[in-house]
């Protein structure tokens, strides 16, 4: 936020208004009075307002914070629409009280849903300081069979090679190769994986497969002996 007072509006001429502010009179019935400024600035101000008017009436998708059409739109779990930069600033202003500005429901950065219109790329906000908008979370369709794990592993990685050196095997192998996140055609950015339900689920699956594989290997060793 830089100063707004030192940056005059393009459409309203700056004006020394201290003397005028003191001569406010309650009897004046003008509810919407711009200061009597030079003619041209006044008309341009009016034009600006009509432009805004048309834009606003065009769409109901207005951000609840800036009151403009939402850019990089996100929606909270309570259903309230914001620009991502607006909501992000709000959440950073009150780190200890993360509430929806409209309904005061608890909200968090992890639990907002981005909205992608067909041409949403063109709406990208130029403000680069804002952290990236949270990504959408994809959930894979339910697997049909109970032993889905190995199938998908084989399918994606071109085969589960048992000829792997047993000596080099134990845990490093699983830590590096048994990474299900890499196999998913996921739109998620790496920095947002932690803590999501998807991530937890992957962790759980990895553990299950680790034990199944360990069992499988021991069976192989026993069978050979």
């Amino acid at each position: 936020m830089s100063s707004s007072t030192s940056n005059p509006l393009p459409d309203v001429e700056p004006q020394a208004s201290t003397s005028e502010s003191s001569e406010y009179k309650p009897q004046q019935s003008t509810q919407y009075s711009f200061k009597p400024s030079p003619e041209n600035s006044k008309t341009s101000t009016k034009a600006d307002f009509t432009d805004d008017e048309e834009k606003k009436d065009d769409s109901m998708y207005v951000c609840n914070i800036c009151l403009d059409i939402a850019k990089d739109a996100v929606v909270s779990m309570c259903g309230h629409l914001y620009c991502w930069p607006c909501l992000n600033t709000w959440l950073e202003t009150r780190p200890t009280r993360q509430l929806c500005p409209v309904c005061k429901a608890a909200i968090s950065k992890e639990k907002v849903i981005p909205l992608y219109g067909r041409n949403s790329d063109k709406q990208q906000d130029p403000r680069s300081k804002v952290p990236p908008r949270p990504q959408g979370q994809r959930t894979e369709p339910d697997p049909n069979t109970g032993f889905q794990g190995f199938q998908s592993f084989n399918g994606a990685d071109g085969g589960f090679h048992l000829s792997f050196g047993i000596g080099a095997f134990p845990f490093g192998f699983f830590a590096s190769s048994f990474n299900f996140n890499d196999m998913r055609p996921s739109a998620r950015a790496p920095q947002h994986q932690q803590g999501t339900p998807q991530f937890e689920e992957d962790q759980f699956l990895s553990k299950v497969f680790l034990w199944v594989a360990l069992f499988f290997f021991s069976w192989l060793i026993l069978a050979e002996a």
């Binding site: 936020m1 830089s2 100063s3 707004s4 007072t5 940056n7 005059p8 509006l9 309203v12 001429e13 700056p14 004006q15 208004s17 005028e20 502010s21 406010y24 309650p26 004046q28 003008t30 509810q31 919407y32 009075s33 711009f34 200061k35 400024s37 600006d48 307002f49 805004d52 008017e53 606003k56 609840n64 914070i65 800036c66 009151l67 403009d68 309230h80 607006c86 600033t89 709000w90 202003t93 009280r97 509430l99 929806c100 500005p101 409209v102 005061k104 403000r127």
Partner: protein
Amino acid sequence: MANMAVSRIKREFKEVLRSEEIAQCSIKLELVNDCFTELRGEIAGPPDTPYEFGTFLLEIHVPETYPFNPPKVKFLTKIWHPNISSVTGAICLDILKDNWAAAMTLRTVLLSLQALLASPEPDDPQDAVVASQYKENFEMFCRTAKHWTNSYAKGPHKFPDFDTKIQRLKDMGVSEFDARAALSRHNWDLNRATEQLFS
């Protein structure tokens, strides 16, 4: 980002202009400067309250961080109310402090202040003297608040006995406001007010 405060205020003006309350002359909003940072609000005293038929002016300062932080608002019109300082006009209202939310607007602020006039919260006072009078001597509070509304906000109710006492103190060289404040604080007991003023 700095322009967000300005563009918000512009849009809010339209909201206030279109609102029913404007049509009912219940709230008003005006610009004081061209930077859209200083505004003047006006609310009508709510019906069936001591503030009825009064018109109360508010000074509104819009911070650069608006709407992420609340506007700074105070009463310019002197008012006798538990949650508003009778001396400075400072307001004790949660939405102007911790309970502010970025989706609130100047219109909702003005309406909230009007609601505050209708339902004071003496247990969370800004002016402790007014609050205790409200709780302990409600009838005296109502008369005093009506008198202030008449004196400062063009309210219709006159109280000749109050005016007489104020005049007595003015004759002693006390300013009208100081006389009114002292008498109001002491339930219009002239002796105690005099004591306070000259002690």
